[in-house]
């Protein structure tokens, strides 16, 4: 599926933040030794969600190209799967987390590129969150 309107893109970003927050909540329950790290990710996700929603609501304008800015932004490459098997091991979970973060990072950076023509604040926030996801990948790697 292709995302074309600003509303679709923002909602997809919110969905990614919600889903990955749920994923880290589950990890915090399962792997107590890294509870704090995972919960800090959850907190950060909530903040990201707020940033994304706020930037959209604050800069959306009927006069700009909100409906026509995201040509060729397909969602299939960025869909994440967060279910965990009962007996999943920490190394497997971290691998999965890295995969999720890589997809989310790519989504934000690509969406930032595609949205450059219309609202300056939106690509800036997307880029910022994308970079943060890159940093998160490094943190995850340090846990393994």
């Amino acid at each position: 599926m292709q995302l074309q309107t600003a509303s679709q893109v923002i909602n997809f970003a919110v969905e990614l933040e919600d889903k990955s927050a749920k994923f880290y909540e589950d990890l915090a329950e399962k792997f107590k030794q890294y509870k704090e790290v995972f919960l800090s990710f959850v907190k950060e996700n909530k903040k990201n969600k707020l940033f994304v929603q706020r930037v959209y609501n604050e800069v959306v304008s009927d006069a700009l190209e909100t409906g026509f800015s995201f040509e060729d932004l397909g969602v299939d490459d960025y869909l994440i799967e967060i279910n965990l098997a009962e007996d999943v091991s920490l190394p497997d979970v971290l691998k999965k987390a890295l995969d999720i973060e890589a997809k989310i990072e790519r989504f934000y950076l690509n969406a930032a590129k595609k949205s450059k023509s219309f609202l300056a604040d939106v690509p800036r926030v997307f880029e910022k969150i994308g970079k943060k996801r890159g940093e998160r990948k490094e943190r995850l790697k340090s846990l393994s």
């Binding site: 599926m1 309107t5 304008s61 006069a63 190209e65 909100t66 026509f68």
Partner: protein, 495 residues
């Protein structure tokens, strides 16, 4: 992609908002239909002349105390309103989509633009300041004070049901006046929702009122001796009439009329960026916007560039997803009513009859989702259009684009000036000289340079010239403050 939840579940019976109370009207009720689903979502009264008089009387009664309320305290009401609007951002946006048909992105954009006017009006303690000069003669000082006038009215159009009254109302009340809004009887629900939030913000009763109705209510407001001035946005014939009427009876007036906006595409334009901007310009709000592009003039004798432009334009227009605006994937909603669609169809027929080439026919709508086709059209594109054709001269107010050619910028500007309207015009170019020439010479109030919709921000006036605007001062920003206040000059000397 799922369709967002509708905030209106059962048909509403709308009431007038007078003296801080919701009052049932004795007038006849008229159905408000969601143009995408064709379901009735509300019934609006056509208020009686007595109800108009009552609203004016209450507003007049509220005026002296509101006028004496310090500007900072008035600004605080607006700050509270701004906060409440932010908290309730989504509901009025979805209501706009339900009553008007526009997409949810467009509705949210409209809500944002409305809020921006509230934000600007909160600056009233600075905006309303006068000026002074000591010693205009020895020992004599002179100063200017801006004072409110009393009760105003705002007669709103159907195409921006939430935003347009906010071009005026926040400035009217911030400067100490009271105002009565007559929403368009086609799309009155957004203003009702807004008034509910105004009520929550704690404005004193009578400062901000709503009286529903059609032409008769507008007439009664305009003829009322206690109404000091009127703000109107709508068609040119009505704007002219209102301007005349207000002139006869000595009322202030801002009367914004129709438009026919030209977009000039120079051969050096960046097409990759120009085309998405033009899609929003021509087809955003389903073309029902006084700043919509309607006539695209491609400049130059270069046939390759012309062909490339036309192909890219038609390709992008043909891909626009049409459907119910609450479906987030939809890029263009329905026309606001069946009648509006019929009017647009009539123009398309005329275009064909007068010899324009129809290169994208949007008459048979392809709709995303299962909705009745009654109000839907897809984008239509004509080429080989000349300035004397009806489709090039008259305001279509629908998703129809006309492509024309000019040999150079001079000819393009001459073509623009054949048209009686002067609301907006844009040029797409990479050349500063072309842009400067365009801005300097084109007789339109709102100029876009590489901008498809030259919509002034809340802190700039919403301009307009020729048959698109009647009056002197415009809505929004400082000009609105000037409109809603009288300049009083005091010259003083003390012995």
């Amino acid at each position: 992609m799922a369709v967002l939840e509708e905030p209106i579940k059962e048909p509403l019976i709308l009431k007038n908002y007078v003296d801080g109370e919701w009052i049932e009207s004795k007038g006849k009720l008229h159905d408000i239909v969601n143009p995408a689903t064709c379901k009735t979502i509300a019934r609006v009264p056509l208020s009686t002349p007595e109800e108009v008089n009552e609203a004016v009387e209450k507003a007049k009664k509220a005026y002296p105390e509101w006028r004496r309320t310090p500007p900072l305290a008035r600004a605080r009401c607006l700050f509270r309103l701004k906060e409440i609007l932010e908290e309730n951002f989504e509901e009025p946006s979805r209501i706009q989509t339900m009553e008007h048909g526009k997409t949810i992105d467009e509705s949210r954009g409209e809500t944002r633009r409305g809020i921006e006017n509230v934000e600007v009006a909160t600056g009233i303690p600075s905006l309303m300041m006068g000026y002074n000069l000591e010693d205009i003669a020895t020992g004599i000082d002179e100063h200017l004070i801006r004072q409110p006038l009393g009760v105003f009215c705002c007669i709103a159009p159907f195409n921006f049901p939430f935003m347009v009254p906010l071009w005026f109302v926040p400035y009217a009340v911030a400067s100490g006046n009271c105002i009565i809004i007559k929403p368009s009887p086609r799309v009155p629900i957004s203003q009702v929702k807004l008034a509910e939030l105004v009520d929550e913000a704690g404005f004193p009763p009578g400062v901000w009122s709503i009286v529903h109705g059609g032409g008769e209510v507008a007439q009664a407001l305009l003829e009322h001796p206690d109404i000091k001035g009127a703000c109107f946005v709508g068609s040119t014939p009505v704007a002219k009439e209102i301007y005349k009427k207000c002139g006869q009876v000595g009322k202030r007036v801002i009367a914004q009329g129709g438009a026919k906006n030209f977009i000039v595409v120079m051969p050096d334009a960046n097409l990759e960026k120009t085309i998405p901007a033009l899609m929003t310009s021509f087809f955003g709000n389903t073309g029902q916007r006084c700043l919509s592009g309607t006539n695209a003039i491609v400049v130059g004798r270069n046939d390759i560039f012309y062909k490339k432009f036309v192909e890219a334009f038609v390709d992008a227009a043909s891909k626009i997803k049409v459907g119910y605006g609450l479906d987030e994937s939809v890029q263009m909603g329905p026309l606001q009513s069946k009648k509006a669609k019929e009017k647009v169809l009539g123009f398309i027929e005329k275009g064909i009859k007068e010899g324009a080439g129809i290169i994208l026919d949007g008459r048979k709508a392809k709709i995303t989702g299962d909705y009745p086709p009654d109000c839907f059209l897809n984008p239509t594109v004509f080429d080989e259009v000349t300035v004397d054709m009806t489709i090039a001269k008259e305001e279509i107010f629908g998703p129809v684009a006309n492509i024309m050619r000019a040999k150079d910028l001079d000819e393009a500007i001459r073509m623009i000036h054949t048209n009686p309207y002067g609301n907006a015009a844009s040029v797409f170019t990479s050349n500063g000289k072309f842009a400067r020439e365009f801005q300097y010479r084109v007789e339109c109030g709102d100029i876009g340079i590489n901008i498809g919709i030259a919509a002034p921000m809340a802190f700039f006036p919403f301009s307009g010239m020729k048959d698109s605007f009647f009056g002197i001062l415009h809505g929004q920003g400082k000009e609105a403050i000037r409109f809603f206040t009288e300049s009083k000059v005091v010259i003083q000397r003390w012995w």
